[in-house]
Amino acid sequence: MPSINRSKTKTPMPSQDAKLRSKNFNEVALGYTEEDAINEAQRCLNCKKPSCMEGCPVQVQIPRFIKHIAEKNFESAISVIKETNSLPAVCGRVCPQEEQCEQKCVLAKRGDPVGIGRLERFAADWERQQGVKIPDKANPIGKKVAVIGSGPAGLTCAGDLAKLGYDVTVFEAFHEPGGVLIYGIPEFRLPKEIVKQEVDFLKKLGVKVQTDMVMGKVLTVDDIFEKGYEAVFIGTGAGLPKFMKIPGENYLGVYSANEFLTRINLMKAYKFPETDTPVKVGKKVAVVGGGNVAMDSARSALRMGAEEVYIVYRRSESEMPARKEEFEHAKEEGIIFKFLTNPTRIIGDEKGWVKGLECIQMELGEPDASGRRRPVPIKGSEFTLDMDTVVIAIGTGPNPLLIEATEGLKLNKYGYIETDEDGRTSKEGVWAGGDIVTGSATVILAMGAGKKAAQSIHEYLQGK
């Protein structure tokens, strides 16, 4: 019997010192040692009715895997997780556990919840260090399925179908697969090596990955069917950047978060001129927004050498949608938060470079459709922050490129693809899932959607 740890606080996560890390792109959180993991696992009460699992969108058998860790049986721990979560090394790092499993954990009532995310990450990292075992290839069914987009939704759908014996090809627009995991979430939060290994794992399962394929341009969904594919899964994400539609947004030094992060992560601008793609980061940087994307942009700016980095957010701290850990990390690193502040205008110099951000002070009014109190501007409270770089991270929309080239896809009023619960679209043989259906959400929800669709595609093709 493992002993019990009655500590009210989580076993601390070893991490890089805040001063040091704000200058490099190495991973911030270093991960539990075996000892840390066992220690933390021993906090779990192994509840009969584990409420944590209600908070998990893919129903990971949380107490079961934690018990294995407590018993030092790491191999069993990871196989329990992988029964339902095919990307644990990713999820352990980026899931908003504080709103999911950990929020529901009984221990959260009287102290810290069990560090479920940290334990998940530990188990996944342990397995990677041992060398991941490749399951035997399933007997080929002899049916081809196409997956468009290689984010968490597409990768999960592809993996599940390959395991069932389908001949799966993933078509990705970029030169590297992984979706937001590659181009958006920075190296210091999710090392790209991990994403590469997940993709390699799929390839070993027999999944073919074709990069450089902008679907809708080079091939349409109907072309895919003509090439003999019998089902298509669309997981193209919500990659269309939104701008604020305020004056001055096209000044030099104003970036969408997508561009800023893509330059840094996908194109590796942090290694420029060793790599060829630059990014321009000034001394004073303002990032507009309050989600993970804003935190990632701000912390990347700091690492690119900015002296002062501001987050300008129109609501207050408690409404911020970012993961708590990222907010904490950002604060530790010295990011300056301007809450209840909304930009009204970007000011430029004569050469067209940004030199300031005019903002207005906000106050919270009545709750809006999202249930959060609506920020309203306080008349006459405008002020200007001197800035030489502005990054806009106020959200994204659906990219119409593939959708417009696909006949017969029903969309909702925001332009996202409409599906039933299993991800089935209005077009015969076509499924969709992830951000392109829900709007920007989370890695785990995208994964869950990919899983559901894979199951539904399997049922459909069995009946064919």
Partner: protein, 282 residues
């Protein structure tokens, strides 16, 4: 990997590749472009589809060596491979029943002009073209352009061939002589497109230009290629690259092209020092 099948020097520092890219060739249309990356760690650069052959599965690109990536590209030979070659991107151009058009290409702009004029010519339109370059040896694709034009004017800035002066001088003359066109296509450096548009605007003839902002993805996901057209923000990679010239904010485009001037220089200097002396003009 995409193989370069053929390489030709068109002019000092202007080169033409024929690249094996059957899927791209299948869908390519005039007005579209590709994005390529030479190798891992390289930049993604957009280049116009100067010609395509659906049968052979090839795409022709013409590029000018202006910075690190295009210079490095110029060192590749037939038989070499490009890591990435993505396309066809952007909107294809469409012409509604044009009877007579004027095509103007300045410098490298002659290359993207060619597929448009070729299509118009094949559709039976009368094509008048004005092409120009700094000097005679910098003039490209003269034969190709002539082959699809009913009349071609050649200009050079220094007078070493054809008319002495800018292509816009001939444009002005033709318009002043009362020549009528269903559309005027102007492609070249932004300053040429700006001046050309200013000259042609009073004549109320539709003006098509093809814009070349800095790009990354070419699929509408970064917004780096944004320009203001008719007071609205457009993404050139998906909404263009062709636009109604009379509505384009060229000054903004020209400013935005300067964003990385110091970085471009740094990259080029590093490239040259690593390769020893500058070999770009050999």
């Amino acid at each position: 990997m995409f193989q370069i099948i053929d390489k030709k020097d068109l002019a000092p520092s202007i080169k033409q590749f024929v690249v094996d890219a059957p899927l791209v060739a299948q869908k390519a249309r005039p007005g579209q472009f590709i994005i390529l990356r030479i190798k891992e760690g390289g930049e993604r650069i957009p280049l116009t589809i100067a010609d395509y052959d659906t049968q052979k599965g090839t795409i022709t690109i013409v590029f000018q060596e202006v910075g690190k990536t295009t210079k490095e590209l110029g060192t590749l030979k037939a038989g070499d491979y490009l890591a990435d070659f993505v396309g066809p991107l952007g909107k294809a151009v469409e012409f509604s029943n044009h009877k007579k058009v004027l095509g103007i290409g300045g410098g490298l702009g002659v290359a993207p002009l060619y597929p448009k004029l070729k299509m118009l010519h094949e559709n039976g339109a009368e094509v008048i073209s004005i092409i120009g370059a700094k000097t005679a040896d910098m003039l490209i694709m003269e034969e190709e352009i002539k082959a699809v034009s009913d009349k071609t004017y050649v200009c050079t800035d220094d007078g070493s061939k054809g008319r002495h002066g800018f292509v816009t001088v001939v444009l002005k003359e033709l318009l002043e002589q009362g020549e009528k066109f269903d559309e005027i296509i102007i492609i070249g450096p932004p300053i040429l497109m700006k001046i050309g548009t200013e000259i042609a605007k009073p004549y109320n003839i539709p003006i098509m230009v093809s814009l070349n902002p800095i790009m990354i993805d070419g699929t509408g996901m970064c917004g780096g290629c944004r320009v203001t057209v008719g007071g609205e923000t457009k993404f050139v990679c998906v909404d263009g690259p062709a636009f109604d010239g009379s509505k384009v904010d060229f000054d903004e485009l020209m400013k935005r092209l300067q964003t990385y001037t110091s970085e471009e220089k740094l990259a080029l200097d590093k490239y040259h020092s690593e390769r020893g002396a500058c070999k770009c003009h050999q």
